[in-house]
Amino acid sequence: MEFLPKRVGVVGGGIMGTGIAALFANLGIDSTLFDLDAATAAKSIEALKNATKLPQLTSRRNAKRITPASTTDYPTLLPACDAIVEVVPEILSLKKKVLAGIDAHRRPGSIVSTNTSGLSVNAIVADCSDDLKRHFLGTHYFHPVRYMPLVELIPCAETQPELLEAYGALLRRAGKQVVIGRDTPNFIANRVGIYAMLKVMALTAKHGFTFEEADAITGPPMLTPKTATYRLADMVGLDTLLHATANSYENCPDDLQRDELQPPALLTRMVEAKRLGLKTGAGFYKKDGKQILTLDPESFDYRAQIKPDLERVRKAGKLSDPKQRLAAMHEGDDRVAAFAQELTAAVGAYALHRVGEVAADLKTIDDAMCWGFGRTLGPIACVDALGLERVAGWIDRAEIPRPALLEQALAKGTTLYGYDDAQRVTYFSPPAGHVSVPDDPAVLDLPRLHRLGKAVSENASAKLVDLGDGVVLLQPASAYVPALNPIDDGVLDQLEAAHEHIAQGRFRALVIGNQADNFCAGANLKAVVDLAAAGKLGAIEALAKRLQDLGLRGLHADYPVVAAPHGLTLGGGLELALGAQLRVAASELYAGLVEVGVGLVPAGGGCLRLLQLQSAKRNLRGRPLGPMQNALAVFQKIAYGTVSSSAADAQEQGMLAPEDRIVARGDAVLKAAKDAALERLEGFTPIPPTPVALPGEGGYLSMLSEVDALLRRGAIPPHGATIARVQARILSGGPDANPTEPTSEERILELEREGFMELVQHPKTHERIAHMLKTGKPLFN
């Protein structure tokens, strides 16, 4: 059964309720937001619309899809809701009362959910009608809803299984990652996650590490985000953490590792002292002006931060392969390795013990930990990666009873994860043995294609992959910076090879995309700096020209070229995507031409493509907006290095074309891009060269005046003004441009290169690049 509600009722206008309403609004689904009165709900929607930091809406326009209402309007408004989301504060009596109200007015058959992080779903629904119970489930969203991938779905005893499936599919379509848990305390991710945090706290004290050191160990080296443990605790709020800890401890009497769930004294003391983390300004860390202080657990006072200096962590941090990094943390007998071994064994055992209790299988638990806590590998997968025998030894050493699943795997001599004959991922699930993860028709399983040997060619920067159906994929995949996939000659080599393959008839369409954290975060700055330092200016210009030429080649090719940008798509990355004829973008797209931050201008076709997109815009009477307006609109974006907050935002800002498609579900983008490429094959017509009407000198001088005024009033720094003048020259079409004679693509590209070459030799640009490489932040000089 497919479930696509026309209207969702969200009861409770708090931060979670508005976040859930926004999730549906972003998917194009209308909702009614019920609060105690409509005015309060309207205020919450207004706040949702105006949020600038981590906005929940992908476009302010989506706010229109949410209608404010009062709970007194149930009789007229609730029957229109196909799904009703109860998301009031987590007090059992309150939730029961609210559900009774919903039960009285809902349309039979409508799906009702309760959102909770810890209450029993069965207890909440206990007094409701049978129809409601059959159409009921629990959800556990993470805050902030838009940015946290995981949603745990918890059926109650009466929930119809097909309804659970359909609801999960709906949330997946909205871009969420869904796991099905059971009605046990703290469900899956928090149950295991809280144990892991408490274990880190115990081990920190045992091994005499500082909080900074413990965070350095339990961050990226252990395949966990940089927030690691204590920083994460401060973000979550120590009171929330303590509350959840108590929930686990009190309600899990049969937990074999229960003693370790006892709320630690330090945590209790901190909560009593109102040191709750970020929300009260002090937790394990405290911000003091620009400085960050660390709690000294002995004196209960704050001290200056001490930068951790742990050799094992430093060495492991240099390894880009996650499993190698993990192994490097565990091999040895120093206290960091001992810490890592004890932690991996304890958390792995705890997670393995939960299989069958909190979820049906081990993969669900790992998935929840990856999507809920941002881990690269789940705790069970870590055990598998390090070797079952080895970890079993560590578990024995810690005197933790061996999990049955581990014993069974050892007895059978199998790993916990593997691949089947078709190279699908399998996981160990006795008595069936290894079970294959079923194909998801919306997702292109890229790792599996690689296992099947579908790579056509590869180098350290990118790969070409045969996607089947005559489609070749250019996969930006940096061996050194896999999270950012910078664009360099290696990427362009593969791109050129892809076009050659198609020219020779080996393929018939090209897709550009990957499934990394980010599509491509820009050019390889280091390479540019090295060339500049070596005086190899010709090589720099050739690199820019190559990106430009390949962009034009993709744009005007007589076969489909489709890009699938997602995540960070910056500078040369955006230019790579704009060098395709169509883009299928993930909703979470942070795109922008940000070259100004490193003292440069886009010179890989970015200025050209933005000008083309902008000048294709028409006013209500179908007329062009005028060359100056178009030039200024693009100037606004590249002068400030504007980065979109979503794909919808990028489209509104003219960094995506109006016909480009947006897919909410990030992991489905590549498949959608391939489908779009195949679609285009039918009756394909190449895009002809599109010259752009640009204002020429008059417009250039007008932008120049503005730049000078900004400089005089100190609104931009001197080098900022230099860069802006170069941008103005490119975007106005240069001194010879004339709005009555549109400027050719080649001429605009030439202006891009001229500007780029002028700036790349500027010492102040070098300062900007050096600062960016060192600090990751732009320099305003």
Partner: protein, 383 residues
């Protein structure tokens, strides 16, 4: 040909709103103009619309929503017969004062029996500088396109006008405007504007109790080493003013009592880098044409583009002895300066001030971007 004496029958205006999130942003400049003109015509029922020869509208940026010959659109939107022509004029900030001058001159020579001048500027919808600025290289190199704030800095530097003096002047402007509002001085001048979706805008949005410390804390707005700040510059704003004119003989025929007559008008040019001084030569000319001196003037409406600019006019014009006559109800620093509106606005405000104070003559003057001045001298009816 006999030259006819021209009267101002009436004038009114919208409140002046902020261009940033101001109450009038929901309206287009045309809709706003229509409301102001309708209010003016409704309260002058004896003036028949078919006696008009033209509606003249002034706006500093006659494009987009202020384009398409907006004067014609205003006439048609407010029920003037199709036979009444519409003319949009541009002289930057003096645009609507120029509209009054054109109607004055035309009717004085017998062309038309009634005239409507409208000044409009919606600085939120049509930005200063317009949407499609394009410059000439030679003039650019001669600095003809110098920014207005930069001209104020030039005057402040050359005439040694201190930041303290500028701030004192700005604060005084706010005090006078607040005082005028509290006394109901603008009851006749300002007409309430109905907003879409209900509600009205009935009050100027800018005047506020001066805060010397806050003013002192502002950063220079135009150059880092400058003295002119946002607090001593007229703010970006939105508003419409309208003036109803008629030859005195027609007014008598219709039984309409004028509020003032126009004694003389003048425009003049000055160095564009010192554009703020424009009122000095323009006023000298206008006074000479009226056969008056500043001693004969009871009210001076001197548009306050910048405090430094107004103080420069006072200094260079030798107006120090007449400072008390200047802007008795507050000036553009406090009320706002919707560019094309201001010419008609200060004529209306001069009428208010003359009638309140019982004075006889008012001198209405303003500086203009590109280096110009425009002045009109009024005589209160019956004085």
């Amino acid at each position: 040909m006999q030259v006819r004496e021209i009267a101002i029958v009436d004038a009114c205006r919208s409140p002046i709103a902020k261009s940033k999130k101001g109450a009038l942003n929901a309206l287009t400049p045309l809709e706003l103009s229509a409301q102001v003109v309708n209010a003016l015509m409704e309260r002058n029922p004896k003036v028949p619309k078919d006696r008009f020869e033209m509606v003249v509208a002034g706006t500093a940026y006659p494009e987009a929503e202020q384009g398409l010959n907006v004067a014609r659109l205003i006439g048609l939107k407010t029920g003037f017969p199709v036979s009444v022509a519409g003319v949009t004029v541009n002289q930057f900030c003096a645009s609507s004062q120029q509209a009054v001058m054109i109607l004055h001159d035309a009717m004085a020579l017998g062309k038309g029996d009634a005239g409507l001048a409208v000044g409009l500027e919606h600085m939120a919808r049509v930005p200063q500088g317009g949407f499609n600025p394009s410059l000439d290289r030679e003039l650019h190199e001669r600095n003809v396109y110098i920014g207005m704030g930069d001209t104020a800095e030039v005057l402040a530097t050359e005439l040694k006008i201190s930041r303290d003096d500028q701030e004192a002047f700005a604060m005084r402007s706010h005090e006078k405007a607040l005082q005028a509002w509290s006394e109901g001085a603008f009851a006749k001048e300002v007409v309430p504007i109905a907003l879409p979706g209900g509600g009205t805008c009935a009050q100027d949005e800018f005047p506020r109790a001066p805060d010397a410390a806050k003013l002192r804390s502002l950063k220079p707005a135009f150059r880092t080493d400058g003295t002119v700040t946002a607090g001593t510059s007229s703010p970006l704003s939105v508003g419409v003013a309208a003036v109803l004119l008629m030859p005195v003989e027609v007014a008598q025929e219709l039984g309409v009592t004028p509020r003032a007559t126009i004694l003389s008008t003048a425009v003049a040019g000055v160095d564009y880098e010192r554009m703020g001084l424009g009122p000095v030569p323009a006023s000298e000319k206008a006074l000479a044409r009226a056969g008056l001196t500043l001693d004969d003037i009871d009210v001076i409406e001197l548009n306050e583009a910048f405090a430094a600019q107004a103080l420069a006019v006072i200094q260079k014009g030798g107006w120090e002895a007449h400072v008390d006559k200047i802007n008795p109800l507050g000036g553009a620093l406090a009320l706002g300066h919707p560019l094309g509106m201001s010419g008609a606005r200060i004529i209306g405000t001069a009428l208010t001030a003359l009638e309140r104070g019982g004075g006889k003559h008012a001198l209405v003057t303003m500086c203009v971007g590109g280096g110009q001045g425009a002045t009109t001298i009024l005589k209160r009816w019956g004085a």
